[in-house]
Amino acid sequence: MRTAVLLGFRLRQEVLEWSGAWWFLLTLVVQAVVAPLIGLFVWSAVYPDDPAIARYYVAVILVTLMTESFEQHTFSERIYNGTLSHELLRPQPVVVGVIGMNLAIRAWLTLLGAPIVLLTGIALQVGFDWWAVVRSTPYLVLAAVLVFLWTFLLSLTAFWTDRVHAVVGFGSQLVFLFGGTAAPIGLLPDGLRRVAEVLPFYGMSGLPAEIAAGTRGGGLLVYQLMWIVGLVGVVMVLWRVGIRRYTAVGS
């Protein structure tokens, strides 16, 4: 309960903090939607008569906006410039602050990106089955958790390297390739598809989008949950080892 109150307060703080940087958030929105838009154009050209393609990619854009994570810019920078010390002094888990900022940025991206999703949907005359959209909600929530855990995990490498952006950039490419943005994973070659279905990236983007688009019924919550449990375990180990290396020299 106390953690929820603290998280709520932190979220409010961060929403306020980021409200002054709406122009910067707009650039993040553009960055987030470019890759799915390219996928949309390419696969719509390949399958011009399949309305599910446009529906799927509009859903991917929305999922991407609602699950984007930037811990390499927020959390890792605090390791580099030593301001993580402020968080370490607070009688609460450091991750509360990280989650608060993550949720605030996602809220802003969703708000600022909503017009793009709406315009794309109208332009391509995309129609959704709203029951399918409702059914995708738990998958979307778990996707948001997965993306956060994945990005946070990679951002923790800032304790070891000053090249965290390259590490997270590589991780984002894996999500792009195997998550269903480069291509719906059903369209990947057989071998790659089988690999993609096992890796966590499909659960971060393609799965909730497919369910919202009505091209899949559901049934993979356990797959997402298992990856969440696994990533939480790795994050906890990495945090414990990494924080021992934190030096904050000269700050």
Partner: protein
């Protein structure tokens, strides 16, 4: 019973190094070289509850690193530390609610968009301060730190002096028992620095808090800390009363004298202007020299002083302790 107990505390870390030039830069792509920096080397001391200790030393001596370890931010390489009976770097909530670490260089962390009052309210939630206690403490802090005009201001819009006052208020709103103050008056003007000093003194008197203070301003140390711990190159060089350090480092005292005569034969002249002289005299000859001066000259005023603390500490930093 001790509030802070530090035993053989050492801290080292690896810093990447390379020679200048393109060849060395390419070489470092294949094989990076590191240098081990010994920030702390077998540091030991204890601080009793309610004691105010000054922790001084030149830049890079290891003061801030020690404070970061004592407040739980850093893990040491070796050694044992107990603050209020707890190992700090375990960062237990109950422990963190009993200490505060205020840095003059970054007095206020967190969201800079918030108003001062919002930030204090966040501290109340974070540290589980009951509303009645919060209101009472806030009223006290408002009076002591002249906070009232700042409460509705955003943190980002505060001046350095105001940020320090707010930083102290945010740290003290939950009544910490141990206070780590790292350069609390850095960058402040004389008045603001003096206000902060008076405030810390008053807080300690009222609450009996234990304080470890670092400062390069000897006025802070002299007015607040009966005990000094001098650290240099990661090692404790001196731990004891301020006056003793002064006596140990400087075998001289200063005699300040106003006279129309010439007292230059009674000691080394350090300064003279308009009939006012300052003589440097060996400590064990002060009484005799004073007597002879009073007999030989028509003295209007005479005072015996310790040499300025800045000079003594500067000497300690440059030459070490004998």
């Amino acid at each position: 019973m001790t509030a802070v107990e530090v035993e053989n505390l050492s801290m080292s870390y690896k810093a990447p190094v390379r020679k200048g030039g393109l060849r060395a830069a390419f070489g470092s792509l294949v094989r990076r070289e590191y240098k081990t920096v010994q920030a702390l080397d077998e540091v030991s001391f204890t601080i009793a509850p309610g004691e105010v200790a000054g922790f001084i030393g030149p830049n890079g001596a290891g003061k801030t690193t020690t404070m970061k370890i004592l407040s739980g931010i850093l893990h040491p390489t070796s050694g044992a530390v107990q603050v209020l009976g707890t190992v700090p770097w375990q960062r237990r909530s109950a422990f963190l609610k009993r200490i505060a670490f205020v840095r003059g260089s970054q007095p206020v962390g967190g969201s800079q968009e918030l108003t001062v009052m919002d930030s204090l309210e966040y501290q109340r939630l974070l540290y589980d301060v009951p509303r009645t206690t919060f209101r009472r403490t806030l009223a006290d802090l408002e009076a002591l730190l002249e906070l009232e005009p700042l409460l509705e201001r955003q943190l980002r819009a505060l001046s350095l002096g105001e940020r320090m006052r707010v930083g102290l208020a945010m740290a003290l709103i939950y009544h910490p028992e141990v206070l780590f103050l790292d350069e609390p008056t850095i960058g402040l003007d004389v008045t603001a620095a003096s206000q902060i000093r008076e405030f810390v003194q008053e807080y300690v008197e009222q609450t009996g808090a234990t304080v470890l203070l670092t400062s390069h301003y000897m006025a802070d140390v002299a007015s607040l800390c009966p005990r000094l711990i001098l650290i240099d190159k990661g090692k404790v060089q001196y731990d004891g009363p301020l006056a003793e350090l002064s006596a140990r480092l400087s075998p001289y005292k200063l005699i300040r004298i106003s006279t129309q005569g010439d007292p230059s034969s009674f000691g080394e002249v350090v300064d003279k202007a308009d009939g006012r002289w300052v003589l440097r005299v060996p400590r064990d000859e002060v009484a005799g020299t004073t007597g002879r001066l009073l007999q030989a000259l028509e003295v209007v005023d005479l005072a015996v002083e310790e040499p300025p603390l800045e000079k003594v500490i500067d000497q300690a930093y440059r030459e070490g302790l004998r």
